[in-house]
């Protein structure tokens, strides 16, 4: 029985010396032959001996992506017992992503969470004692993938996909009703109508695909939260980092009630920065919601920036924040260094074992030190983020592309004057692909749509 070919980034999706993209499955060799070129461009990896290493380049068509080493391991003596290829490339996130996208373009599909291990296990490669851990991997990774695919889909994308999906389902249901009840419902003249619907949805999907390249489907990067008491200068800091007036900055404590989000790029490191309402014991209900949210965000964050107003004394609220910070990766900023210092660096150090940097968001001092510190922590691996996000992103994009391909087939079928029941086959594939993207399965959607929207005879 043939197995399909899966691909994934085997190393962490973070800047590092080396990145590995792994492929496993029957088409691994075929795929690598399509994208690998040796220096003289004469070597075919599939024809080489198993368990050998090859120097060369990865190409997507005529575009060279990276200089690589390719490890060839033919079945059955591999981790998964299937044909396996490992591409060792330079460790940049962009490069790894591009190579992964390329192998997918040429026939692989993104691996499900834990799928390499699952294959290894199912092919008898791993023994009994490891079975339990396989189950754990499947579970934990799946729950993350599900969470990320839903929570990381930006609101508008989710709405758009749902809308496209709904429109497609409506058309399938109409066709199916007509097939089930041909004497009551006629499909005369329906082709033109369907063509205009499909063309509209294709346009929408292309728009989503284009925006996905700008990382707008999923947020990639280090989830960073800015915490601090009201008016400590969190929003000013965000504005300095982002470079525009995004948050409302006033002298009135408690102005930032919603959590603001911004994505910034620091020397190639993406940060998703969330500015939160200041933490302080408040009676204001609206602000309370903001405070609860801030604590929630802090718990989920990869990295926390804690802003202290050095011109005021530490109080209960500060100690509360320090409690949250204890086991987290964080830096402390002593803001308002331009004003008279009430709370000193030494004072904070007594309570908290974190790096402390004096800054002035207003006068733009200390910001470079902050950036350097973040960079340092990241490259030393102190701060990381869940690399599944990248993978999920590629998976989403892949599903969207699959759905678009299916709609293209519908157009082809209409042009070829195929019977209507063939349209619904490809419409259904598009519907399923979009479902994968937003984590919804098909179940009985269709039957429900048929019954609720169309009047059957009998």
């Amino acid at each position: 029985m043939k197995s399909d070919t899966i691909a994934a980034v085997a190393t962490a999706m973070s800047p590092s010396g080396i990145g590995i993209i792994r492929l496993s499955g029957d088409e691994s060799l075929e795929i690598i032959d399509k994208i690998y070129r040796s220096k003289m461009n004469k070597k075919k990896i599939s024809e080489c001996d198993s368990h050998t290493i090859h120097y060369g380049y990865i190409y997507d068509g005529e575009e060279m992506i990276d200089e690589v080493m390719v490890l060839l391991m033919k079945a059955p003596n591999t981790y998964t017992k299937e044909d396996t290829i490992e591409i060792d490339c330079h460790g940049g996130v962009f490069v790894m992503k591009r190579i992964l996208e390329t192998v997918i373009k040429y026939g692989a599909r993104p691996a499900e969470p834990g799928e390499f291990t699952k294959r290894a296990f199912l092919n008898g490669r791993i023994d009994l004692t490891q079975a339990e851990s396989v189950i754990d991997v499947i579970n934990s990774k799946n729950s993350f993938a599900l969470k990320s695919s839903l929570s990381q889909l930006k609101g508008s994308v989710l709405t758009d996909v749902k809308k496209i999906r709904g429109n497609i389902l409506h058309e399938i249901a109409f066709i199916e009703t007509a097939l089930d009840d041909p004497e009551h419902i006629s499909l005369d003249g329906y082709n033109e109508n369907l063509l205009s619907v499909v063309n509209h949805e294709r346009k929408e999907m292309k728009r989503l695909l284009d925006s996905s390249d700008n990382g707008r489907i999923l947020k990639e990067g280090i989830n960073t939260v800015i915490l601090g008491k009201p008016n400590a200068g969190k929003s000013s800091l965000l504005n300095v980092l982002v470079g525009e007036e995004r948050a409302i900055v006033t002298d009135i404590a408690g102005t930032t009630r919603d959590v603001l989000e911004e994505q910034i790029n620091l020397h190639g490191i993406s940060l998703n920065i969330m500015d939160t309402a200041g933490i302080r014991n408040t009676e204001d209900v609206v602000e309370k919601i903001g405070v609860t949210k801030a604590k929630e965000y802090a718990n989920k964050a990869d990295f926390i920036i804690y802003v202290i107003d050095s011109s005021t004394a530490l109080d209960e609220s500060d100690f509360e924040i320090m409690e949250i910070l204890k086991d987290k990766k964080a830096v402390v900023l002593l803001n308002k260094s331009d004003l008279e210092v009430v709370t000193s660096k030494e004072e904070v150090e007594k309570h908290l074992d974190k790096t402390i940097i004096p800054i002035s968001a207003k006068e733009n001092t200390g910001i470079t030190e902050l950036e350097e510190k973040i960079k340092e922590m990241f490259f030393h691996g102190e701060v990381t983020f869940n690399d599944e996000v990248y993978i999920t992103n590629i998976r989403q994009k892949n599903s969207l592309q699959d759905a678009l391909d299916s709609l293209n087939l519908v157009v082809q079928s209409i042009e070829d004057d195929m019977p209507e029941d063939f349209y619904s086959i490809d419409l259904m594939s598009a519907y399923e692909s979009l479902g994968k993207m937003i984590g919804e399965s098909v179940e009985d959607d269709l039957v429900n749509e048929i019954f609720s929207k169309f009047c059957m005879g009998k």
């Binding site: 029985m1 043939k2 197995s3 029957d26 079945a75 059955p76 017992k81 299937e82 499900e112 834990g114 699952k118 296990f121 199912l122 092919n123 023994d127 009994l128 079975a131 339990e132 396989v134 189950i135 754990d136 499947i138 579970n139 799946n142 729950s143 399938i172 199916e176 097939l179 089930d180 009840d181 041909p182 004497e183 009551h184 499909l187 070829d416 004057d417 195929m418 019977p419 209507e420 029941d421 063939f422 619904s424 086959i425 179940e443 009985d444 269709l446 039957v447 048929i450 019954f451 609720s452 009047c455 059957m456 005879g457 009998k458």
Partner: protein, 646 residues
């Protein structure tokens, strides 16, 4: 009190479309079989619409025929009009539908039953099922106290269990057509732990033909060339003179009358407890739910050749008699209509079919099988398909043979049963082509190619019929190979033919297959430019044409089926406690414990079982290979190695 005691292998309860197929299959497989009915005159009765087949249902009839059932043969003997539906659409959705002479249909089916060896017909109401301590079926009891010992029971009670019919405020405690309801069996089943549901369905009025003005309606003819349902019927035998159906419409006046009287409909006043089918709505449902529609199509169909009764298709109702009277008379052509029988809604007891295995045997009561509306389905064809499977499997069980389990990739009957036993059902289940995910492979034209071999292995198909299917297979394959290889040059004659069909002329030589794939051409149109062609039977040509023309789509579905089969092959232990598997979510454990799926494929289709849960079960199953190899190999033999090795 002295009472009759008799012994049989199989007892069938009910002689509707499910019961007849079940009893015939069981008796034909050599089982001493007895079939009970509340009225011998109502064998294979059609209490609702006067037709067999229709979209996707026609497929089921063909499949029944290929497996050795009776429905297709019986309708071929008794139809009075026939039509292939969806002819302008793809081959997968072509579907035969025939109008039946209802009386003739029951008479002919009864004749077949009466003349089948090992089959006894008995008019009596079954009140109890009898089991031993291990919950094995040992027999049944009738209301009059007689005991019939047996090894298996098949319940096909249709709409008769605790039935009541409703016409407005009037309620009759009877089965369909005023026949006696069966009021005892439910209690006995509940005592045995069976979970019951209550469903409802309905039927329109019948009208006297002499009171109808057909000049105001559109005449609906049958097909010029009739195609029989059964693969064994000679097509020449069904070229009969056909009768017509008639089309008319409801109008705003009709809808006004209905709306004004909704409060008197038991559906809307809350008297009806049962769940009705959404696909077969009453006219009051249609008017309420699709308020924007100004008219609904209504088909007037003959009930037979020797009766004046006409069926009013599309207008079932539970409104009171006086409202019906007024409402039907608003339709063009029915201004003076005389109602022969009122429309009514009927409520009845049935089971939650999740209690069954795909063999249609109860999971908790050994040797108890069931089929048809009792299992929560609707329709004569759905009933017959299940009846056939239940009858076969009762015999298989007694003979110690493997049960017949059809999967979703090989038949509509398989889809039907899998849906019933795996999914949650909240209304009577009707087959639809959209329920079959591999419908391009499950065509009505290839039902014989798909299932005759199975029917032969079971013992319901003759050697002769089996040999013919094998020969047909060979001829099709041979001709496809020829078409893929023989090239046709761009001769004058060829270009002329292409031009005639509006097809682009050839630049270079092309294979016959490539030409067949052009939308405007087909196998038969190419005859003049394909002189090497051997004369072939029509059904062989049909297969060659379809398989070449839709080759790309068909190959894609075959690939999907391979994926599907992989999970379907991995068998799961029965009566298993899924809480023993670490890592399954609680909801999944509950559902799996309740359903006890046969294999991983079925498990994955249960709502509430996620793909991650499926992976976990897969890993567990693999683990079993080491922790409990005996159980593993007993379940899965040595299939694993073959299917999973590369």
């Amino acid at each position: 009190m002295p009472a009759i005691v008799e012994n049989y292998d199989v007892v069938v309860v009910g002689a509707g479309h499910a019961g007849c197929e079940a009893a015939l299959a069981s008796a034909r497989l050599g089982m001493e079989t007895i079939i009970f009915t509340v009225s011998v005159d109502s064998i294979a009765l059609m209490p609702c619409n006067p037709n067999i087949g229709g979209s996707s249902k026609g497929h089921i009839v063909r499949e029944i025929d290929a497996l050795g059932g009776e429905m297709g043969k019986n309708i071929d003997k008794t139809f009075i009009q026939s039509k292939m539906l969806n002819k302008s659409k793809g081959p997968a959705v072509h579907s035969l539908r025939a109008q039946a002479d209802k009386m003739a249909y029951t008479t002919e089916m009864r004749k077949v039953l009466e003349n089948t060896d090992h089959l006894t017909i008995r008019q009596a109401e079954i009140s109890d099922i009898i089991t031993d301590e291990a919950n094995h079926i040992t027999g049944v009891k009738t209301v009059s106290g007689a005991t019939y010992h047996c090894k298996a029971v098949i319940i096909c009670s249709g709409t008769y269990l605790n039935a009541r019919c409703l016409t407005g405020e009037m309620i009759t405690y009877s089965g369909p057509n005023g026949l006696q309801a069966a009021t005892h069996l439910t209690n006995s089943l509940v005592e045995h732990g069976v979970e019951m549901y209550r469903f409802k369905t309905g039927t329109p009025a019948r009208i006297d033909k002499r009171s109808i003005d057909f000049s105001k309606m559109e005449e609906q003819f049958g097909d010029e060339r009739v195609i029989p349902f059964s693969f064994t019927t000679d097509p020449e035998d069904v070229q009969i003179e056909q009768v017509s159906c008639w089309l008319t419409y409801t109008n705003p006046t009709t809808h006004e009358i209905i709306r004004a009287n909704l409060h008197r409909s038991p559906m809307y006043s809350g008297v009806i407890e049962g769940t009705g089918p959404r696909y077969c709505p009453s006219i009051e449902d249609k008017v309420v739910k699709f308020a924007e529609k100004e008219r609904h199509q209504i088909f007037i169909e003959p009930e037979g050749l020797h009766t004046n009764e006409m069926y009013v298709g599309g207008m079932s109702s539970s409104l009171p008699e006086d409202v019906q009277h007024a409402m039907y008379r608003t339709l063009p052509g029915l201004e003076n209509a005389k109602i022969v029988r009122n429309a009514y809604a009927i409520e009845y007891d049935c089971i939650n079919p999740n209690q069954l295995y795909a063999s249609l045997e109860f999971k908790n009561i050994h040797g108890l099988f069931s089929a048809g509306q009792f299992n929560g389905s609707s329709g004569y064809e759905e009933a017959a398909g299940q009846g056939l499977v239940a009858g076969i499997n009762a015999a298989m069980k007694i003979q110690g043979r493997e049960p017949l389990v059809l999967d979703r990739s090989e038949s509509y009957i398989g889809v039907l049963i899998d849906d019933l036993v795996t999914k949650e059902t909240f209304e009577p289940y009707r087959m639809m082509t959209s329920r079959a995910e591999y419908r391009l492979l499950l065509r009505q034209d290839n039902a014989d190619m798909r299932l005759t071999k199975k029917g032969y292995e079971i013992g319901l198909i003759s050697q002769e019929r089996y040999d013919w299917v094998c020969e047909k297979e060979r001829l099709i394959e041979e001709e496809i190979v020829r078409c893929e290889n023989v090239k046709i040059g761009a001769s004058k004659e060829v270009q002329a033919l292409l031009e005639r069909y509006g097809s682009i002329p050839l630049n270079t030589a092309s294979t016959i297959a490539e030409l067949i794939r052009r939308p405007e051409l087909d196998y038969e149109k190419l005859a003049p430019i394909d002189p090497e062609r051997k004369p072939l039977a029509y059904d062989v040509i049909e297969q060659v044409n379809i398989l070449i023309k839709y080759d790309g789509y068909i190959k894609r579905q075959i690939k999907q089926v391979e994926q599907f089969k992989r999970l379907e092959k991995k068998k799961l232990p029965q009566n298993f406690d899924y809480s023993e598997i670490n890592g399954l979510r609680i909801e999944a454990v509950q559902k799996l414990n309740k359903y006890q799926p046969m294999n991983i494929g079925q498990a994955s289709r249960i709502s509430g079982v996620s793909p991650a849960d499926t992976s976990v079960i897969l890993v567990y199953l693999e683990q079993l290979k080491y922790s409990n190899p005996d159980l593993f190999y007993q379940l899965n033999g040595h299939l694993e190695e073959e299917s999973d090795g590369k």
